[in-house]
């Protein structure tokens, strides 16, 4: 480290000599070729006309080339890209709108279908109920009719039976009288007696 800095110190003045030449124009620089006249090259007025001329030529051409060819092209590329991006964004927005509309339509259809299904279910339910009611009524009516018929038959049978009970009782009474008393009772008497007992 020490050695290095020492060497650096040593070689610095040699370089410094050349460097100070940069500030003082009159200083004859170290190792300057003859054509530079000992002037620090960037400040040598002898080179100014040629440098200005070639700067004007090269920069002028460069300016024209950029203005006429490069910049319209780059600007065009960027414009086209921006247009394309806005176009794509519009397209995307439109597609999103369509998708949203489709979802809304689907949901509406779904809701409609639900209400319709409910209505159909309700209707079917009502119809089934009504049918069941009608069937029940019909069965009840049939049963009522059968009951009535049965009751009527029972009452006729009962009436017949009751009628027959009188004759049977008379026959039995006359037979009992004959057997017990040994004589014959008149039919009218027996009938009256039976009637009075039956009451």
């Amino acid at each position: 480290m020490f050695v290095t800095s020492a060497f650096a110190q040593e070689s610095a003045p040699a370089v410094e000599g050349g460097h100070t030449g940069t500030e003082g124009d009159t200083h004859s620089g170290t190792g300057v070729p003859a054509e530079a006249h000992g002037v620090f090259p960037p400040f040598d007025p002898a080179t100014f006309p040629s440098q200005l001329l070639w700067l004007a030529i090269t920069f002028g051409l460069f300016y024209l080339f950029l203005k006429k060819v490069v910049m319209p092209r780059v600007g065009g590329i960027i414009d086209v890209r921006n247009d394309r991006i806005t176009q794509d964004l519009d397209h995307a927005a439109r597609l999103k709108g369509e998708a949203d509309a489709a979802v809304a339509a689907y949901e509406q259809e779904l809701a409609e279908a639900k209400t319709k299904a409910n209505a159909i279910g309700q209707q079917a339910n009502d119809a089934a109920k009504a049918e069941a009611e009608a069937a029940r009524k019909k069965v009840e009516a049939a049963l009522d009719q059968k009951l009535g018929e049965a009751e009527a038959r029972i009452s006729t049978i009962k009436a017949n039976a009751m009628k027959e009970v009188g004759t049977i009782a008379e026959d039995t009474a006359s037979a009992i009288v004959e057997a017990l008393v040994g004589g014959k009772a008149s039919k009218a008497e027996i009938a009256a007696a039976v009637k009075s007992v039956a009451r």
Partner: protein
Amino acid sequence: MAADKVDPIHQFHINKLIPIEIGGYDLSFTNSALFMVATVAVASAFLYLSTSSRSLVPSRLQSISEMAYEFVGNMLRDAAGTQGMKFFPLVFSLFMFVLVANLLGLFPYFFTVTSHIIVTFGLAALVIGTVVVYGFMKHGLGFLKLFVPHGVPVYLLPLVVLIEVISFVSRPVSLSVRLFANMLAGHITLKVFSGFVVSLSALGTLGIAGSVLPLAMAVALTALELLVAFLQAYVFAVLTCMYLNDALHPGH
């Protein structure tokens, strides 16, 4: 020969490649002119070829060109508004020229065009000339309002106007000297440190070991110079934009 190699000024010498003399003026095609041509050729070729495919999705090179274009465009729009966009080709070509000239100068054995005051002064004079000519064309004598800021008390006005005039006149000088001095100083420093490496390593084993330090320094300085090359091109373009803004809106 050894002195030539270490001499940090040698790189700024101008050599005539094709001697031309017209009307007593030396208009030779020099190494400086050669590197101006090279700068223009490299910059034009890069911008032209990188954008030749005009792809919607840019390649890396194409996006570099587009970035430079949009960078300068935004810079100009921020500084001088949309009216300033008529100067976009000028600012963009100045930026690209200075940037590429600076970058080319970083290659060893290459000549740095922007390390000569007359070149940077030529560019600065172009800028200030544009400002003055456009300012008077657009605003007539109203352009002189540039030197009279608003809201200054009357008794201070002569002083302020004097200061404004001096600051305006010094603009081409500061604009050109800033770029020139940065490139010159950077290249001299770089050369000095590289010279240390050469002269130290000639001193034997210890010297070679010691030359590592200036070598590391030279590497670091190269990185710094790369930054400076970008930065100075940027500064030159930004100041150009601000001066053009004065030409467009002289009333502050």
